[in-house]
């Protein structure tokens, strides 16, 4: 990995920020969860780019899968409305 990956890292971080803003501003809660999943996916990629494969794997499993599933379950158990 002699290739300089820093620009790529910056790109993914930018995407993460965009997703984070979207999570907070999307009206529909379920959509927010989906965006949150994407956010986790981007962060996992970012970690992978920086060489943190273990963290990336865990973040993908936890953020993208478990937390998202928890959120979705919770939304179905509660309500879906916007703020």
């Amino acid at each position: 990995m002699t290739l300089s990956l820093e620009p790529l890292a910056v790109v993914f971080l930018t995407l993460m920020i965009a997703c984070a803003v979207a999570v907070l501003s999307v009206r529909d809660l379920l959509a927010a969860v989906v965006v949150f999943g994407t956010f986790s996916f981007f962060s996992a990629t970012y970690f992978a780019v920086l060489g943190a494969v273990d963290v990336a794997l865990t973040e993908a499993a936890v953020g993208g899968a478990i937390t998202a599933v928890f959120f979705v379950t919770a939304i179905f158990r509660t309500d879906r409305g916007a703020d």
């Binding site: 990995m1 002699t2 300089s4 820093e6 620009p7 890292a9 910056v10 971080l13 930018t14 993460m16 920020i17 984070a20 803003v21 999570v23 907070l24 809660l29 927010a32 969860v33 949150f36 956010f39 986790s40 962060s43 970012y46 970690f47 920086l50 060489g51 943190a52 494969v53 273990d54 963290v55 865990t58 973040e59 936890v62 953020g63 478990i66 937390t67 928890f70 959120f71 379950t73 919770a74 939304i75 158990r77 509660t78 309500d79 409305g81 916007a82 703020d83």
Partner: protein, 127 residues
């Protein structure tokens, strides 16, 4: 302006982005009205901290910290710093645990008060 350029150099900009992420999360916790949304913002905040630590572990030109070939001795510069990774695995687990407990609380709140919107909740509590 020299300082500004330095701040925007590729080596520092990731810190700034992590800070931005942190602020977005914090803002969400404070400003969003729906409790689930607050919880998501809390998760974003925690990811921001994780990003910060992982950024600390990076080394230019180094690779994932899995030793493949020991024959010629190990070059420290060849592998990224594994310590923050280990720490952040713990942090991720902590964050998912917190989220789980928070969701359990939310479900109970919803069951009792029928809403998760902070404004509506405050109204009900005031009764």
């Amino acid at each position: 302006m020299g300082e500004m350029a330095e701040l925007l150099s590729i080596g520092t900009v990731q810190y700034l982005q992590a800070a931005a992420l942190l602020l977005v999360g914090l803002y969400g916790i404070v400003a969003r009205r729906h409790l689930l949304r607050k919880l998501m913002a809390m998760n974003i905040l925690q990811v921001a901290v994780i990003v910060f630590f992982i950024a600390l572990s990076a080394k230019s030109g180094a690779t994932v910290p899995v030793v493949v070939d020991e024959a010629g001795g190990i070059d420290v510069a060849a592998y990224v710093n594994p310590l923050p990774h280990a720490l952040m695995l713990t942090a991720i687990v902590v964050s998912v645990s917190t989220t789980g407990v928070a969701l359990a609380l939310l479900i109970r709140i919803r069951r009792r008060y029928g809403t998760l919107s902070e404004t509506a909740l405050l109204d009900k509590l005031r009764e």
